[in-house]
């Protein structure tokens, strides 16, 4: 393990990005950070700029209008950066896969490390996913 990954896994800073979602996944992400699930006790903080982020949480089908933006955000993050696809939409397109605005799924656009399926995934599932991220970094 080099210094970079060692430093990375101490306290994960996450940036959340929605690319044409139904918003439920996004709310469940916020839910993880509020008192009931409280991810902050593990040092996980939601940050306001992709430049500070160690983890990119992506939701939604990534519609055509968002494709460029998603790429742009990914380029702005400091590497190494873990990309997590949250929800059926981001993993595969879900029931929107035949839509004319479909630009994704996410792994066509940027490399994805972890998939958390579900519609929406429960916060518990997201926490389990994040633990896997930590393991992956070891």
């Amino acid at each position: 393990m080099n210094l970079k990954t060692k430093a990375l896994k101490k306290s994960l800073w996450v940036y959340h990005m929605s690319g044409g979602s139904c918003n439920n996944c996004d709310i469940e992400i916020l839910d993880c950070l509020t008192p009931k699930f409280d991810l902050e006790r593990f040092g996980i903080v939601l940050v306001g700029s992709p430049r500070h982020a160690d983890v990119l949480l992506c939701t939604g089908i990534v519609n055509k209008k968002c494709v460029e933006r998603v790429k742009e955000v990914y380029e702005q993050t400091a590497k190494p950066c873990v990309v997590v696809a949250i929800g059926a939409c981001a993993c595969s397109g879900g029931m929107f896969r035949d839509s004319y605005e479909m630009g994704g799924p996410l792994n066509k656009i940027i490399p994805v490390d972890i998939y958390i399926p579900g519609c929406p995934p429960k916060p518990e599932a997201m926490i389990a996913g994040i633990v896997k991220v930590l393991e992956k970094l070891k």
Partner: protein, 398 residues
């Protein structure tokens, strides 16, 4: 848009950690004052109206549920009302009550969510954390009833998919009583706070004429004294069978919007309790089988937490819609920023935009922010920062 030299463009969005959805607003400013606002949507557009034409009548309920995650019952509710209007049928009594229970529970969690976000925009993170904490029991209730925290899939044409078991009702009642206590506490804490009142009073005022011009609905309209509520205007489900009242306010500023929303939560608790009384200990059908949707047109509505949700459907007698038009309440609520933002200062924009409780994924069934292309002055974070500073200032003054 007059492009005189002094005007500066401030882009907001599309991405911000607390706007769950991407959205882009360009503010044209003259000094601190806002001269014009432009709204650019489409970052959430998924072409649902078109997809719906390729799905079976029964599948469409799941599709429209995924229009929006916050109000995931409103669209199936309106859709089922539409089909029932088209066929001209009524649904069994128990199904009516169950529908209303789900609809009202959703209103509570949606309004609490808004209260939390509004608190955050003002720099009151305590309100944010509290409101979201008290929202959790509502989601737990949903899990008991439907098996999922969101996207409950309770609706089907002609009734509901799942029963609320009589054995569960005492538990639901108990949780509801707890929620009610917490709600009252939160409402008291928020509305009695002198700083919040000073900060929100007379900010982002919408007049009756503005509401009419933009066709706004829901709490936004009711806060300005326009008394519209589909639940009363065109009774459906169990709403005509229980006692409740429509909440309105006069001023149309953000404070009134907050008051209306919070009081509606208590109204919702009242409705749910009465519905539970009505179904407890009784048996009954929860749905009627609909085998075929005949040729014709139908329009259905539902009062979603954000206002009237409108569906139009044309059928040619085959097994999927020919045209399915969906109008979410935010579609007419968001454009009111034209009336409410202009002339205000930058520090108020965050809360005014949040004040209408925008829900963009609904609006766009049908801002990464262009760094570099436009002159970058503030982004949304700075706006929230400015907003917080103003709250701080007021707090010191009081």
């Amino acid at each position: 848009m007059k492009n005189n030299k002094k005007t500066v463009i401030v882009p907001i969005g599309p991405y911000h950690p607390l706007l769950e959805e991407p959205e882009f607003f360009a503010l044209y400013c003259d000094g601190e004052k806002i001269v014009d606002v432009e709204w650019q949507a489409g970052y959430n557009h998924r072409g649902i109206e078109k997809l719906s034409e390729s799905k079976h009548w029964d599948q469409v309920t799941f599709l429209v549920e995924r229009i929006c995650g916050i109000c995931s019952t409103s669209h199936p509710f309106a859709y089922c009302n539409t089909i029932e209007n088209l066929i001209g049928m009524t649904i069994p009594e128990r199904a009516k009550y169950i529908r209303s229970i789900i609809g009202e529970l959703e209103r509570i969690h949606s309004h609490l969510l808004w209260m939390g976000l509004a608190g955050h925009f003002l720099g009151y993170n305590t309100v944010f954390m509290w409101a979201w904490k008290y929202r959790e029991p509502v989601l737990d209730l949903f899990e008991i009833i439907s098996g999922n925290r969101n996207h409950y899939a309770m609706f089907k044409i002609g009734g509901v998919r799942r029963n609320i078991e009589n054995e569960d009702i005492p538990k639901i009642r108990k949780m509801l009583a707890e929620i009610k206590g917490q709600l009252e506490m939160l409402i008291g804490a928020v509305l009695d706070d002198p700083v919040l009142t000073a900060r929100l009073k007379n900010v982002g005022v919408l007049t009756k004429q503005d509401i009419k011009n933009f066709g706004s609905v829901g709490p936004v309209a009711r806060a300005s004294g326009v008394d519209v509520d589909v639940r009363r205007d065109e009774p459906y489900a169990a709403y005509p069978l229980v006692e409740w009242s429509v909440i309105t306010a006069k001023n149309g500023d953000v404070l009134d919007k907050a008051v209306v929303r919070l009081s509606e939560c208590l109204e919702a608790v009242k409705i749910i309790t009465q519905c539970l009384d009505a179904i407890e200990g009784k048996a009954g059908e929860i749905g009627e089988e609909v085998r075929r949707v005949p040729e014709g047109e139908g329009i259905g509505r539902h009062e979603a937490p954000r206002g009237e949700c409108f569906h139009y459907i044309r059928s040619d007698g085959a097994n999927s819609p020919v045209r399915h038009k969906i109008r979410a309440p935010s579609y007419t609520n968001v454009p009111t920023f034209k009336a409410s933002c202009i002339g205000q200062t930058i520090s108020d924009v965050a809360i005014i935009l949040a004040g209408v409780d925008p829900c963009y994924c609904c609006t766009e069934r049908v801002a990464v922010y262009d760094a570099g292309k436009k002159k970058k002055l503030y982004d949304f974070q700075h706006l929230v920062e400015l907003s917080k500073q103003k709250t701080e200032r007021i707090r010191k003054e009081i």
